[in-house]
Amino acid sequence: MIPPTFDYAAPTTVDEAISALRDAGEDAKVIAGGQSLLPLLRMRFAAPSTLVDLGGVEELRHVREDGDTIVIGAMVTHARVLRDPLVNAHVPLLAQATSTVADRQIRHRGTFAGSLAHADPAGDLPAVALVLGASLEIAGPHGRRVVPASEFFVDYLESVVAPDEVLVAVRVPKQGSWVGRYEKFNRVAQGWALVGVAALVRRENGAIAEARVGLTNMGSTPLRARRAEAALAGADSPAAVGAAAARAADDTRPSDDLLAGADYRRHLAGVLTRRAVASLA
């Protein structure tokens, strides 16, 4: 369908974007790649009064190195993440997970930051941001703040970004000696995840010293599988990994819907965790 009528602002700086949001009031919305927002508008599930388009804000298009961190600007697309040398060298998990997102056309326009701001628990990258320990730089009328990913996601389609704020960058710590793998399970190859698992492990002397496991679509926000993580620490055999992975869905309450039953999702979380971790031997 056709979106309802809206006003349109095309700022060229972050400051202009913030003023535009302030001027437009409560019902304004930021638009980045539009790949999540436009479907909502076209289905008429959302009717913002004004769209503030970040497309012309040059300062949001960078990827840069800042000590032990890779800083990814808010208008960096999935496609750019995939081919960016800094990302590939220092946070390969993000590149590998991004390769599972949607299809080429959507990756060409959709942004990494937009995926996080949209806070869809079925999105692949929120769980990845969690395990990577990313933090999010947010600018608003009262200045800038940095929020860790673990505090960023509030609920289904809700993050801490206020209506008058703009997410400007995602700061992702370099993986260093951690190795990661994103396992996605979907019904069709280019579909959304029924369940996804982002695993990041650090090994010492052949055993897993530390593990982080992030879960996609196992609740109304992305989650960490803390019990599986704890059980994985010290795991030194496939059997030990399997036993630990089986706890991935502990404490989760995934939805029971048309695309998958809750028990099936819980089962998948265990299998995918085992496979993700096992692939990191």
Partner: protein, 786 residues
């Protein structure tokens, strides 16, 4: 005749414009003063419209007119059903816009006409409707029970019809009940053909221009000719005042074989407003309101002897019609009725089908229409029989199928299968597939305890193409004939225009028709232009569906070409000053027999009739010719498809490791087009097996209302197909072609499901409901049965 074009893999001449979109689709037709329509649709499956007020919409910016079903109740007409399959079929009036009651989610309740599409859509929200909910009838068995809630209260029943074929009663075979009573083995199963959505690429769109005294209607339809005839009939407009144009049309799969509410709504609006109007559906509207396919419950019983010989089959169907009868919807299961016996020789057969009303979108033709259902049931049953008897599934089939030297073969349904060689196609497929090696691998992996199980699935199929001999259609109570037309027009410069009554919507007719003409008339492929889809240029035809275009329309074209040559010959003879009987025609040139030099080309003759200065006495100055061909029989392509699946028992994921299709579709005009049809067809059949299902909740809301939930596969979900052919030409006509549009879809679904079940049999699984999603497969593995 030297054949050069026929059989060559010509690139399709229409593709550049179709792929780039630089062509006329209905949606990009724009006329002066044109208004845009938006349709308010029912959010409920079944409700009384207690009140409806469109006036607030009229007050909205840009809106010119708004009306509800009540406002047009006596002028909107009713949608036609062309196939009352029984004399007493219940045929409820189907209004384009609901008047007092809505009967399915997505049914039109009001219409807005505005200066822009956006304004029309905005105004929909202003329309006020009060619905008084009524119980939604959804389950077919419950719908047929005594005291059931009714979709059409005034009809007193949800049973639309019951149609029976019994070989004993028809005198075409024995008594199926007796065969079952006497059988050494009986296999009884219930299979469910889930509801599918055709999901053509181009959404439906219609433009109606009432300017002048002729209504011009552009529509994204498969059936411009049928639409013209029926629009004239249901609106009371003289037929010569109705012109229908199907410009380039982006796919249909049967989904555009319909006279739609939207077409009538646009007609009514244009008439009311005296201005051109356009309506184009959104994808979401398309999924909920364009007709759906399949949705049949099959109770099947197979009787056999212990040696694997099948002795009879009894089939009982419940076919979900949706809320109304579609254009050919009631007949779709009947198209399958004659195919349950498939390629086998068994002697007794009974088929019974009830068409059932429910509060859902209507169902109607969808690629294969009846035949995929039949093939699925019998091919699943043959595997079950093999398992029961401990025989190899291919061996059981071989023991039952018709042998090459038995053609033409009259089946238990009384159809005469024209030609074929099932052994040959199967042997070729088995070799390409590596059947024996894969069986060995399967055993070895089972022994090792691999959690990913290899499965092998077989589907040997035939189908009836070339719809259809008019007499047969008449006997089945179908409302029209099955002939097809072609016209060949020789232009003065020797170029050729061909008019076909078929209506391509992606199949590549322009290329195939050009190849036939090039060979028959000896003109270059590039010199042929194929015209279609506009009832002004192509005034007569029966359109495209049921793999009929080439198998029927192609023969008409061949015959028209012969008539052109017959007309040209005396003219060439006159120019060469010889007796026509001394001339032969080859490579586009008439020559005196025995004299390879000189002669006259067809272009020479075309110029001669154009000038008409010097023609033999009594010769009409034209080479143009028309032909109408009514097939004497169906054609019966066949083939063997083999599928190897890897079933991950931990997650339930099925991946197709190898897929081999050997099809025998008679003679091939263009192998590239055939490949395309086979690939697309297999993809659609695999989609039914693994991916697609339209789901309603218990209130009758369509849950799969977007392509996020209605999971269409893409190329990334499918393997590379191995395709090959055998060739048993159709004996009834000179082209020898049989039809290939639906073969892949018909064959592939059971091949895939058989492979999955084959993989899981050691775990006690003997069936999985379609689509075999990872979750369903996983649950089957958990429970040992689905």
């Amino acid at each position: 005749m030297t054949v050069t074009e026929v059989g060559s893999a010509r690139r399709r001449k229409e593709d550049a414009r179709l792929i780039t979109g630089r062509t006329t689709w209905t949606e990009n037709v724009t006329l002066p003063g044109m208004l845009h329509l938006a349709i308010l649709r029912s959010p409920m499956a079944h409700a009384r419209i207690s009140s409806i007020d469109v006036s607030p919409a009229l007050a909205t910016k840009g809106v010119v007119e708004a009306f509800s079903g009540r406002d047009v109740a006596d002028v909107q007409g009713a949608l036609p059903c062309a196939w009352p399959v029984t004399e007493d079929m219940v045929l409820p009036d189907r209004p384009p816009i609901a008047v007092d009651e809505v009967k399915f989610m997505g049914e039109a309740v009001a219409v807005v006409a505005a200066r822009s599409r956006a304004a029309a859509l905005d105004a929909l929200a202003a329309i006020e409707v009060d619905y008084e909910p009524l119980p939604a009838v959804l389950d077919m068995e419950a719908a047929l029970a005594d005291g059931a809630d009714l979709v059409h209260a005034d009809k007193g029943t949800n049973r639309g019809y019951t149609w029976v074929f019994d070989s004993g009663e028809a005198g075409t075979g024995g008594d199926a009940a007796a065969a079952l009573d006497d059988a050494e083995v009986v296999i009884r199963r219930r299979y469910v053909q889930q509801r599918l959505i055709p999901a053509f690429m181009e959404p439906r769109s219609v433009v109606v221009d009432p300017t002048g005294d002729v209504y011009s209607i552009w529509s994204a339809t498969q059936i411009p000719h049928i639409l013209r005839f029926l629009l004239a009939a249901v609106t009371g407009t003289p037929e010569h005042k109705v012109r229908v144009i199907a410009p380039d049309v982006g796919g249909g799969f049967g989904g555009k074989l319909q006279v739609t509410p939207e077409e009538l709504i646009a007609f009514v609006a244009a008439k009311r407003l005296g201005r051109p109007v356009k309506y184009t559906e959104s994808r979401s509207e398309s999924l909920v309101s364009a007709h759906h396919g399949r949705d049949v419950i099959q109770d099947v019983e197979l009787a056999a002897r212990r040696d694997g010989t099948v002795t009879g089959l009894r089939v009982k169907l419940m076919a979900n019609m949706g809320a109304y009868m579609g254009l050919v919807g009631p007949g779709v299961p009947i198209l399958g009725a004659f195919m349950y016996n498939a390629i086998y020789k068994f002697p007794a057969y009974r088929f019974e089908c009830s068409g059932v009303f429910t509060n859902t979108t209507i169902t109607d033709a969808y690629r294969g229409a009846g035949r995929p259902e039949a093939t699925y049931a019998i091919e699943r049953l043959m595997d079950e029989l093999a398992t029961e008897l401990g025989l190899d599934p291919m061996e059981v089939r071989r023991r039952n199928w018709i042998k090459a030297d038995e053609f033409p073969f009259t089946t238990v349904c009384g159809l005469q299968y024209d030609s074929g060689d099932y052994d040959k196609a199967t042997d070729k497929a088995m070799e390409l597939f590596g059947y024996d090696e894969l069986r060995k691998e399967q055993e070895a992996r089972r022994a090792e305890g691999d959690t990913v199980h290899l499965g092998i699935g077989i589907s040997t199929y035939t189908e009836m193409c070339g719809l259809a001999p008019s007499r047969v259609l008449g006997a089945l109570r179908y409302g029209a004939g099955g002939w097809e037309t072609a016209s060949v027009r020789m232009l003065p410069t020797g170029k050729v225009e061909v008019v076909t009554g078929t209506s391509p919507h992606g199949q590549g007719h322009e290329t195939a028709w050009s190849q036939i003409v090039a060979d028959q008339l000896g003109v270059p492929f590039e010199d042929v232009e194929v015209l279609h889809g506009d009832t002004r240029t192509s005034y007569k035809g029966l359109d495209t569906y049921g793999s009929r275009s080439l198998a029927v329309g192609g023969i008409a074209l061949y015959n028209a070409c012969q008539k052109v040559l017959d007309k040209a010959k005396p003219i060439a003879a006159h120019m060469l000053e010889c007796d026509p009987a001394d001339l032969e025609f080859a490579e586009g040139r008439f020559r005196v027999r025995g004299n390879p030099d000189g002669g006259r080309t067809l272009a020479d003759c075309a110029l001669a009739v154009f000038a008409a200065h010097d023609l033999p006495d009594g010769i009409e100055p034209t080479l143009d010719a028309d032909a109408v061909y009514d097939p004497v029989n169906f054609s019966f392509p066949h083939g063997t498809h083999l599928c190897a699946t890897e079933v991950d028992t931990e997650t339930g994921r099925v991946s197709i490791r190898k897929y081999v299709a050997v099809d025998d579709i008679g003679r091939v005009i263009n192998p590239l087009i055939v490949e395309g049809q086979v690939h697309g067809g297999i993809a659609q059949g695999i989609a039914q097996a693994l991916f697609e299902e339209a789901v309603y909740d218990e209130d009758g809301n369509l849950m799969t209302g977007t392509l996020v939930d209605y999971t269409l596969p893409t190329a990334a979900d499918l393997p590379s197909f191995v395709t090959d052919r055998t060739e048993s030409p159709a004996p009834d006509h000179p082209l020898g072609t049989k039809g290939v549009g639906e073969a892949g879809t018909i064959a592939s679904t059971p091949a895939v499901v058989n492979a999955i079940v084959d993989a899981l049999r050691p775990m006690g699984v003997n069936d999985i409901a379609m689509p075999c999603t990872p979750e369903r497969v996983w649950r089957a593995v958990q429970g040992g049965a689905a």
